[in-house]
């Protein structure tokens, strides 16, 4: 078993919502990340998936302390990062880096590529002058950029090349852990594979640990050893990639997997699609009990009342769902659905509203700020 690199315990990141022009008062909080506990192993890629707004980026940023979490622990090298003051955290930041989704927005357009990649070296006083330049050239070589372009500006590069610049910058001070926040989402399909292969090679070469965030489940499955599925600020399920795909235990994971189209008509023809009804509720007032109960095809009374605990259901397979205690319910609902499908196919499908679908977004008009 691999060594644990990071231990995350009951991590919470809430953003206050203010209202009022004259007297600003906190009226609510966005529970962007609401009590996550999991380990990240040395040398692994942990994939993190979930729908837009479920808190993936916030999780990544809270772990490496770009946000200082509201509550909880992040233990790295025997220290709880959340407790450390900035001056004690600074030397550890070297080890914890991030690659961003937007290769355009995350690079300063007025800095040359050389200066962008050298920046972390300066911040951590690792190299300067000629040594820094040599290191930058070496890094450019590693990520597949021509070192002769060292004086060029970001706009002179394509999207894929810009992402390589971001990767070189993240690698500059030989980190141990990198949060990769949607590193391929903004790239053309034919370029995504180039970047994923590069990331795999770099991981092997430098023994890196990745938290790979994406909403593209197929990409996550491809690159990850284990996969964590989030829903509305909570962890729904965490397991080995194969277990997640072959044997999803959480109803949300099950629906998510069935919703991802597979580029093979033969496979598509025989797949059972679970079409979830309704929209993702707002993290401003998450549903009671299990946050998924408003859309879950298996939900029963208990689900609206009691928050399911995130527990180990099988070795290495964690899930937060009451079905673990009453597995027969899943089979019963599935049996009933199978009987109803023939009927559904005959009549035009009219997705009904879920009983607890959120009211027409009263909260959407509220002002949200950190």
């Amino acid at each position: 078993m691999a060594e644990t690199l990071l231990t995350i315990e009951n991590l919470k990141m809430h953003f206050p919502v203010y209202r009022g022009a004259l007297v600003r008062r906190e009226v609510n909080r966005v529970r962007a990340v609401d009590g996550l506990s999991f380990d990240i192993y040395e040398g692994e890629t942990l994939g993190l998936v979930g729908e837009s707004g479920c808190g993936k980026s916030t999780t990544g940023r809270s772990i490496i302390q770009l946000y200082r979490p509201t509550e909880g622990k992040v233990v790295f090298d025997g220290k709880n990062l959340c407790d450390l003051p900035e001056n004690e955290l600074h030397p550890l930041r070297r080890d914890l880096q991030m690659i961003f989704q937007d290769p355009y927005g995350s690079l300063n357009p007025r800095m040359t590529v050389g200066d962008i990649i050298a920046e972390p070296l300066k911040v951590h006083k690792l190299a300067s002058g000629k040594a820094a330049r040599e290191r930058v050239q070496e890094l450019m070589e590693i990520v597949g950029l021509d070192p002769r372009f060292i004086r060029r500006y970001p706009h002179e590069f394509s999207g894929g090349q810009r992402q390589r610049i971001g990767i070189a910058r993240a690698l500059a001070c030989e980190p141990r852990f990198i949060v990769c926040d949607e590193p391929i989402s903004a790239l053309d399909v034919s370029i995504q594979a180039q970047i994923m292969n590069l990331m795999e090679d770099l991981q092997n070469e430098f023994n890196l640990t990745y938290l790979f965030i994406a909403h593209d489940l197929a990409a996550v499955r491809h690159i990850s050893d284990r996969i964590a599925v989030m829903y509305l600020g909570k962890m729904a399920e965490l397991a080995d990639g194969r277990q997640i795909y072959d044997n999803p235990l959480h109803p949300y994971t099950e629906a998510l997997i069935s919703a991802v189209p597979i580029p093979d008509p033969e496979v598509e023809k025989t797949r059972q699609r679970i079409v979830l009804e309704g929209d993702v509720p707002s993290p401003l007032n998450p549903p009671s009990g299990c946050v998924f109960h408003t859309r879950c095809p298996y939900a029963w009374e208990r689900c609206a009342m009691e928050v399911p605990r995130f527990e180990q259901a099988e070795p290495g397979h964690y899930v937060a769902c009451h079905l673990i205690d009453e597995p027969m319910r899943r089979e019963r609902v599935k049996g009933a659905k199978a009987g109803a499908t023939s009927e559904k196919a005959a009549s035009p499908a009219t997705p009904s509203s879920s009983p607890a679908s959120p009211p027409p977004d009263a909260e959407r008009s509220e002002e949200v700020s950190a």
Binding site: E51, S52, S158, G160, D188, V189, S190, I191, Q192, A193, Q194, M196, N197, E200, H215, L217, A218, A219, R221, H222, I223, S224, G241, R242, Y245, A255, L256, I257, S258, A259, V260, P261, I262, P263, D264, P265, E266, V267, E268, K269, R273, V275, L276, E277, D279, V280, A345, P348, A349, T350, P351, S352, S353, S354, S357, P360, D361, R364
Partner: protein, 376 residues
């Protein structure tokens, strides 16, 4: 479900839309961008055709040209023919086009807000076109609109029809736009990346909805996407575009079974599949798409192609028919097709075939040898 879709296309052999050698150019500071550079295809009645290709390949410009919506300047239709239901669209007057767009051809865009007016209640946006185009009374139009909202899965349509677009979530807005697009019972629905901006569980809802509506109403559908998975599940035929040209066109099953173009092979092998783990390495397409503001005398894929021969950079390959109804714009189309490099081919096999292809032509016995080698 799929089986009755296929039978429908077999019966409906008449052509609804015919595009011949369409060329759309834009004048830019960098020169003349040949966004669409000689594209031909047909859409049959009741058929669903997927158009795939990466960003900038001309998917949207091609459809916008058909609708007569190219901004001019900088754009212009530099040549070609477009026939819709027996009528010439490129020569049609603005008035004729407007009536066809509102009535017979509908569009759904990636961003629903580009079609919805944020300042008007959706009731007005749905009802007015019905009154003008179909001559319904206000009450009739309202009832029809409510019924359509219900059909696309908006809960409580009677109340929600009097709300403004911002009061709907992204997925709901996309449904409203689909309702709007379908109210006039169009013969052709063009959906340009209808689900790209949506989460995957919402994407599944919308795709199921389009499939159901197509089955119920018999509408022809063009789905534009960069996601091969989306078209695998719903298209009868697929058109692969690259650099403003059609690279390959064939029945969906055939495309995935034995593609006839190296670019299609590249797309299939560079996209991770959810049903495969990470045991297989992806084969990236090296390099990047060409700059369409420079003239490309030969095959636009040549700089990135493992199969390229010297002719490829000099002469533009026409569409060769490798099997009935299966066409590929590649000088080596029949070799590529024979090699069976579809979804089932392993990374190792594709790599080996591409190595061989780089050295010379490939024949059946070489492939047989390769497969025997692979088995032992």
């Amino acid at each position: 479900m799929k089986s009755d879709d296929t039978s429908r296309t077999e019966h409906a052999d008449d052509v609804l839309l015919k595009v011949r050698d369409l060329k759309t150019y834009f004048d830019t500071d960098d020169g003349e961008v040949r966004a669409v550079d000689g594209v031909s295809f047909e859409i049959k009645r009741g058929e669903c055709v997927g158009v795939v290709g990466e960003s900038g390949s001309g998917k949207s410009v091609c459809q916008i040209s058909i609708l007569g919506l190219i901004p001019s300047p900088p754009g212009r239709i530099a040549g070609g023919e477009v026939t819709f239901d027996g009528r010439d669209l490129l020569g049609a007057s603005k008035k004729q086009l407007r009536s066809i767009r509102g009535n017979e051809i509908s569009m759904i865009w990636q961003d629903p807000m580009s079609s919805l007016n944020p300042f008007l209640k959706i009731s007005r946006q749905l009802i007015e076109p019905l009154q003008t185009h179909q001559g319904l009374s206000k009450e009739e139009a309202r009832e029809k609109a409510i019924a359509m909202l219900e059909k696309v899965g908006i809960p409580g349509p009677r109340e929600r029809i009097d709300q403004y677009p911002h009061q709907f979530s992204g997925g709901m807005r996309q449904r409203v736009m689909i309702a709007m697009a379908l109210l006039c019972e169009p013969k052709l629905l063009i959906a340009d990346e209808p689900t790209t901006a949506l989460d995957v569980t919402i994407q599944a809802q919308i795709l199921e909805l389009i499939k159901d509506l197509r089955r119920d109403l018999g509408t022809s559908v063009i789905v534009i996407t960069h996601d091969l998975g989306v078209v695998a599940g719903m298209a009868d035929r697929i058109i692969v575009m690259y650099a403003g040209r059609v690279m390959e066109v064939t029945a969906a099953d055939k495309l995935f079974e034995s593609p006839g173009h190296p670019y299609t092979v590249g797309l299939l092998k560079s996209v991770p599949r959810l049903d495969r783990g990470h045991e297989e390495r992806l084969i990236p397409i090296e390099g990047r798409p060409p700059d369409t503001s420079k003239p490309i005398p030969g095959c636009p894929f040549a700089p990135r192609c493992a199969w390229a021969v010297s002719k490829c950079t000099r002469e533009r390959p026409p569409l060769f028919e490798v099997a009935p109804g299966h066409r590929s714009a590649c000088w080596r189309a029949s070799e590529v097709y024979q090699a069976r490099l579809g979804s089932k081919a392993t990374t190792a096999r594709v790599t080996r075939v591409e190595e061989l292809a780089g050295r010379g032509s490939i024949n059946e016995s070489m492939l047989a040898e390769l497969d025997a080698e692979g088995r032992s």
